[in-house]
């Protein structure tokens, strides 16, 4: 019997040498005349252990990692194909604490299956949600999503069911489903993982959305920085079409849904839904005024659902197990699970999917194991480049949309970027203004001009010039950005800037409690 060996094809694993390791394993097996079957699975999301090589055994998969090409011969010497002991042995994968403590709903298959194998997808509960949806009325599908309590995982946390209901009840010949796959926030990679490591779940979620609201065309607006995701999606879409899961008359139901991937072109602002639609229409990604909201007048002027990758990828399990099942995870008004991404200066960087409610401290230390450098964690930025910097005194905040909002912080897309005590928060505040200046679409004045003035002001402050005048001016400028910008890019750039200033005034040259701060 041949032995099955798993080496991830996830781009982060590849960035650490997974392709070379896979090649070396095949070469070594060949040299030793051992019959092996190599499967390129997704990543388990434990990136400090990547490339993580797994062997299928009767007890379950046994893991070794992080494996480099130089380790391959010694792994064979240690009889790892039969689960032999080696210095890189990690035991049964499922028993690794980091993974064992998680509640994987959206990520249930990720790291287990071959991402582009429809057979694997079906064997691991794939397309059960769609099968259920095809037997339901549109209203009932939307009701399940509403009952689940799912809120937009892109960051805005708007209830998905309400959005769908609006599109369902807006009559039109043509409606659209758009998946916002422009995951541009630093520190986030859960969308990337879903698209690379389980593309069918996104396709299934979008198909269910299309059937629910009566949309026959879907677009995945994918950032160009994700070529691996592009390949996986195109491959999976081709297989779904061939097997009758996409196209006209899906599974003989008489319902149609067509899906196409469209590439962005490196504009962060195109993650904003109206800018994204302008881009899809072939224009500059200028943000639109709202109202009208996209659910009523969206892509090409038609009713459009715009949802994030994780929101859509959470739909299949909701339709499979029911809205109540999903709603029973979580706390307060934050229902279900959140795939959290631990990134930056953290020892155990990776993907942690859990019900809402865990505290940042538990996440950073119990899962993350503290900073990668071993130094004190000074601040974490949660929610991408427009998220606030959070100091140690707020690490006991539970991961919950409302609890975060109460601290003037945002949970956003669940990205957590960790900084140790060598970080200069004034430099980070300057970077936030610079980023806004580079990425501003230019439509509204506060964002277009305010960000450049903000950068200049930060240069003055960093040089220690006239703090008594410049710090209040920075606050006033942030007030203008916050209240006067058209979208979240200008409107939220003050979050990182002011949180850095408020929590770390010493980095701005402000010592002690003075009138300036």
């Amino acid at each position: 019997m041949s032995i099955t060996i798993f080496v991830p094809c996830d781009s982060s694993a590849v960035s650490l040498g997974a392709d070379r390791v896979a090649k070396a394993i095949l070469a070594e097996a060949n040299k030793r005349s051992i019959a092996v079957q190599l499967v390129r699975n997704g990543s388990r999301g434990m990136y400090w252990l990547e490339p993580l090589v797994e062997i299928a055994t009767d007890q379950g998969r046994i893991a070794y990692g992080p494996v480099q090409t130089g380790d391959v011969a010694s792994l064979f010497d240690a009889d790892f194909t039969n689960g032999g002991d080696h210095r890189l042995s990690l035991g049964l994968t499922e028993e690794i604490d980091y993974l064992k403590k998680q509640q994987r709903l959206t990520f249930a298959r990720i790291g287990i299956t071959n991402p582009v194998s429809l057979e694997d997808y079906l064997a691991h509960d794939g397309y059960r949600g769609l099968n259920n949806a095809l037997a339901m009325s549109a209203t009932d599908i939307v009701k399940h999503v509403t009952d689940s309590g799912l809120r937009g995982r892109g960051g805005a946390a708007f209830p998905t069911g309400i959005k769908w209901n609006t599109v369902l009840n807006t009559p039109s010949e043509q409606k659209y489903i758009i998946c916002n796959a422009d995951e541009g926030d630093s520190g986030t990679f859960s969308d990337r993982m879903v698209m690379e490591d389980d593309p069918f779940v996104l396709i299934e979620g979008m198909t269910i959305a299309g059937i629910a609201v009566g949309a026959t065309q879907g677009y995945i607006y994918l950032r160009v920085e994700y070529p691996h995701a592009h390949q996986a999606l195109d491959c999976a879409i081709g297989k779904a079409i061939a097997a009758g899961y996409l196209g006209d008359n899906i599974l003989g139901s008489g319902k149609s849904f067509h899906l196409e991937v469209r590439l962005g072109a490196g504009a962060y602002v195109c993650g904003e839904e109206t800018s994204l639609m302008e881009s899809l229409e072939g224009k500059r990604g200028l943000v639109r005024y709202k109202p009208p909201i996209p659910a009523i007048k969206g892509l090409f002027g038609q009713p459009t659902v715009v949802n994030n990758v994780i929101s859509l990828a959470s739909v299949p399990i909701i339709l499979d197990k029911g809205g109540d099942y999903y709603r029973d995870f979580g706390m307060g008004r934050s229902r279900g699970t959140l795939p959290i991404q631990l990134a930056g200066n953290i020892k155990h960087a990776g993907l942690v999917e859990l019900a809402f409610g865990l505290t940042l401290r538990e996440l950073l230390y119990d899962f993350g194991g503290g900073s990668a450098t071993g130094r004190t964690i000074k601040a974490v930025q949660v929610g991408g480049p427009l998220g606030a910097y959070i100091p140690e005194s707020q690490f006991d905040t539970p991961l919950d949309y409302e609890a975060f909002a109460a601290n003037w912080t945002v949970l956003g897309h669940g990205g957590v970027v960790v900084f140790d005590d060598t970080v200069d928060m004034a430099a980070m505040a300057r970077y936030s203004m610079e980023f806004c200046a580079i990425e501003s679409c230019g439509k509204c004045t506060p964002c277009r001009i305010g960000s450049t003035r903000g950068m200049e002001l930060m240069d003055e402050i960093i040089d220690g010039r006239d703090l008594g005048k410049n710090v209040p001016l920075l606050r006033s400028l942030c007030d203008t950005l916050l209240n006067g910008s058209l979208c979240a890019l200008g409107g939220m750039t003050p979050y990182p800037v002011l949180s850095a200033l408020n929590h770390f005034p010493e980095d701005f040259g402000i010592n002690g409690q003075t009138d300036i701060a």
Binding site: S12, S15, W48, S186, D191, L263, G264, L280, A343, A349
Partner: protein, 158 residues
């Protein structure tokens, strides 16, 4: 260097093939950049004509998006991540090293035409920061030493 008649026929073929897609301009621009490495100014009138747009509208779109380039790149483009997660793991030092090693700043190409350097704001490789792309190959936890090794290998390969 591709001559101008080849450029024009390539752009014409791509534009004709894609012009009937809804919102065809970005797919066409991607097609042109994939084929030629950049979007030559000569191609703008061809694309504009195919889509019944003004040249200004097409140029406006090309210039809006950071990814589209109007000049030919070096043989390989290095995309270096400047975002927060990579900064938390020393990307600023890596950036200084890369610029010094190549002798160029962002948006420039080395004198031998080998490498172009572009900033990128997140490659989604934040669990393995700092990250960069060389061509289409992604690398994580890149130290200055690893960078030197990588480009030495790329130069041999090229």
């Amino acid at each position: 260097m591709t001559d101008s008649s080849t450029i024009l026929s390539t752009v014409q073929a791509i534009s004709t093939g894609l012009k009937d897609k809804p919102g065809a301009l970005l797919p066409i621009l991607h097609g042109v950049q994939d084929a030629l490495g950049y979007i030559p100014s000569d191609s703008i009138p061809v694309i504009a004509k195919a889509l019944n747009l003004s040249r200004a509208e097409v140029h406006g779109v090309v210039s809006f998006y950071h990814y589209f380039r109007e000049t030919a790149p070096g043989k390989q483009i290095i995309h270096l991540c400047r975002a927060e997660s990579c900064q938390a793991m020393g990307s600023k030092q890596l950036e200084d090293h890369v610029k010094a090693k190549l002798g160029i700043d962002y948006h420039e190409t080395t004198a031998d035409g080998e490498f172009s350097l572009e900033p990128v704001y997140c490659l989604g490789n934040c669990a393995c920061s700092p990250a960069l792309l060389i061509g289409s190959d992604i690398y994580g936890r890149v130290s200055p030493e690893l960078f030197d090794e990588l480009i030495a290998n790329k130069e041999v390969a090229a």
